[in-house]
């Protein structure tokens, strides 16, 4: 009897292993055709930890020169004096963008690495994306022919150097010495606010010179973007306690009219097994009222595209933001308007906190000015290489869905 059981267990194990191997891909040696994941290595990441900002840019420029890569290094011009490059106030650092692809094409894609200076890991993600797009391959050639890509590895050089984030005054002054109480940054003291929200300030003069220079660069010099991606990571103290090993979270910045938005806010996301079953059964009942967001947004182009990107990331075997976090949130709800609301698994939308108060984030701003699609991702506390893989996979998915027109179910 015991032997039989052992034999059965062995056989089952083999079967399970075969299934897992067939679906899962070893990403350390994998080249998807768009992005080469084998470029990500730990020693390179370790080097990034200590080096100053100009050295980081120099190294990248050196790689581009040695290999004769088709990447243009374009510095951002000053807003007030457009003949000169923008320079930061104390140290004189410049902001650089890496341009790739066909400048005459109508697909203008922007990839922003570190909006907040402290989140440095995604500037390396940006470089990996740029380098892997320069490799040979039919898909890459097609992408570079049909699109013009601008990569901004570090939007805030001083914050990058100091490993903090910038806060902006109503006068347009920036500080990287936020008032800190109990390890938490007080944001809105005397009108200091986060840089991501400064892009969308109603008054032009209240924006800082750096923000205005970047805005002008993307809207006028590069051409109004059609797709804007910004990559974020969570580095706040103690985030690992709750968000440890969480996957990619995708935030869609699509413009919905006010009426539609109110409807979406009143609906809910099918979270539990019972709710999911109910949602499936509702399709057969024509008289049922609207209850779930996924029912309402079905076949919406922006929603479907985001869903297919998420499915692609899942297909590679990479974790996406799981439902368990939302389940905890529903069990212990925090009173207060929500900054983001869930519309599907690992897909979120800007919530009533931003909408009602009229706070406009950077992707929202570009969307408002040029009608582009805005997306941000959040990667949570886990190993650095894993965060880079997640960011790169997201860009991989977006390039496939937006430029090559693929769809993943």
């Amino acid at each position: 009897m015991n032997k039989l059981r052992k034999w059965l267990v062995k056989r089952l194990d083999k079967k399970i292993d075969r299934i897992i191997k067939s679906s899962k891909i070893d990403l350390s040696m994998y080249d998807s055709g768009v992005i080469d994941y084998s470029l990500i290595n730990q020693p390179e990441i370790n080097n990034l930890r200590e080096i100053p900002y100009p050295e980081f840019i120099e190294r990248v420029a050196q790689i581009i020169e040695e290999n004769n890569l088709p990447i243009q290094i374009v510095p951002v011009k000053d807003f007030f004096n457009p003949k000169e490059d923008f320079k930061t106030e104390p140290l004189g650092y410049k902001i650089y963008t890496f341009e790739l692809g066909n400048p005459s094409s109508s697909n203008k894609i922007v990839i922003e690495g570190t909006c907040h200076g402290g989140e440095r890991i995604h500037s390396l993600t940006c470089i990996i994306i740029a380098l892997s797009l320069c490799k040979e391959g039919p898909l890459r050639e097609k992408i570079l022919e049909n699109s013009h890509i601008s990569i901004l590895p570090a939007a805030d050089p001083l914050g990058w150097q100091k490993k903090t984030r910038a806060y902006v005054n109503m006068r347009g002054d920036e500080t990287r010495n936020p008032v800190v109480v109990n390890m938490q940054h007080i944001r809105n003291l005397f009108g200091w606010s986060d840089t991501n929200a400064v892009f969308g300030r109603n008054l032009e003069e209240a924006k800082s010179a750096r923000v205005r220079a970047i805005e002008k660069h993307f809207l006028e010099r590069f051409g109004p973007p059609t797709l804007y991606n910004s990559l974020h990571e969570t580095v706040m103290f103690g985030s690992h306690l709750f968000y440890g090993n969480a996957g990619v979270m995708i935030l869609i910045h699509h413009y919905f009219p006010e009426k539609v938005r109110d409807v979406i806010f009143s609906l809910r996301y099918a979270l539990t097994r019972g709710e999911k079953l109910e949602k499936a059964l509702r399709k057969f009942n024509p008289l049922a009222e609207l209850k779930y967001t996924e029912e309402y947004l079905e076949c919406h182009p922006a929603f479907e595209k985001a869903k297919s990107i998420r499915n692609y990331i899942k297909k590679l075997g990479i974790r996406t933001f799981e439902d368990k976090f939302f389940r905890v949130e529903r069990e212990f709800p925090i009173p207060g308007p929500k900054s983001e609301i869930t519309i599907a698994e690992s897909l979120l939308m800007t919530g009533p906190l931003y909408v009602k108060a009229g706070i406009v984030l950077a992707p929202d701003y570009y969307e408002k000015m040029s009608g582009c699609v805005g997306q941000t991702i959040e990667t949570f506390s886990q190993s650095e290489s894993e965060r880079i893989i997640q960011g790169a996979a997201f860009i991989d998915g977006t390039l496939r869905c937006e430029v090559l027109g693929e769809y993943y179910e």
Binding site: M170, R171, L189, F190, L203, P335, P337, K356, A357, G358
Partner: protein, 263 residues
Amino acid sequence: MAKIDLYKVWQKDGYTLVTHTDPIFFTDRLVRNQKISRRRESLEIILNVEKIENYLWEVAENSPYLDVVEEDGSLKIAPRKKISPEFEKNLLCAFRDTFFQEENITNQYLLYQDLFLYYGRYRFGGFYGIIHKLFPLVFIMRVVKGYQPMVWQMLIVDPYFLNKTKEKIISWYEEIEEGAEYAFSNITLVQKENLALKVLNNIVRKNKGKEGFNIASKLCGRLGLGFLKDFYWVATQATEDTEWDIYKKPPVPFTLWPERKSE
């Protein structure tokens, strides 16, 4: 007339505007907006300055849009003619970035707090959930006749009444939001001389790079501008001369009498 006070405070190298944006004043602001929505009042923003400057007179005299009115020893800038849409837009943008945004956040925040209390009770595991609803059955099964009226009241909860309370909460906040929006489209600006502010600004200006902010933070309470203490206290971190020099002095000895030296 609804009012908002703004204080023109001198910092290291220029003026900033400071308001009573403290969580304690949430309720005051809510009431103000509610009144505005009911009475259709216009909003008056009072700019507290050290000295009313003459250039305001000149600007107003030359401009076709503004008119200066003197009331109770203070200068008032009132609209003479309808301002150009561009200028109006710019002005509104400035206020939307500061007051309008913040006011809406606080309204929304309090709304959700109230609704949270409401929803929590009627959800599955909540106070009016299935378990608590069955609680009166205990009394019925025990057959204590005196409890019967209370039991039936607990069992049959009027759904219409519940709906009404929810709607009341929402409508109350809708009124406030509407008031905020109305107020920020009808603004008049008033300039007012404030002597206490002048004293504080002079202290900070004269003791530049020294203990100016420290002195101001200690003095502002006595001058009637106590809410500025938070502002100055934070600014003390930027002073060049630190308070920590006291530790450079030789410490006070543990024994009050000198120790006897060995002979």
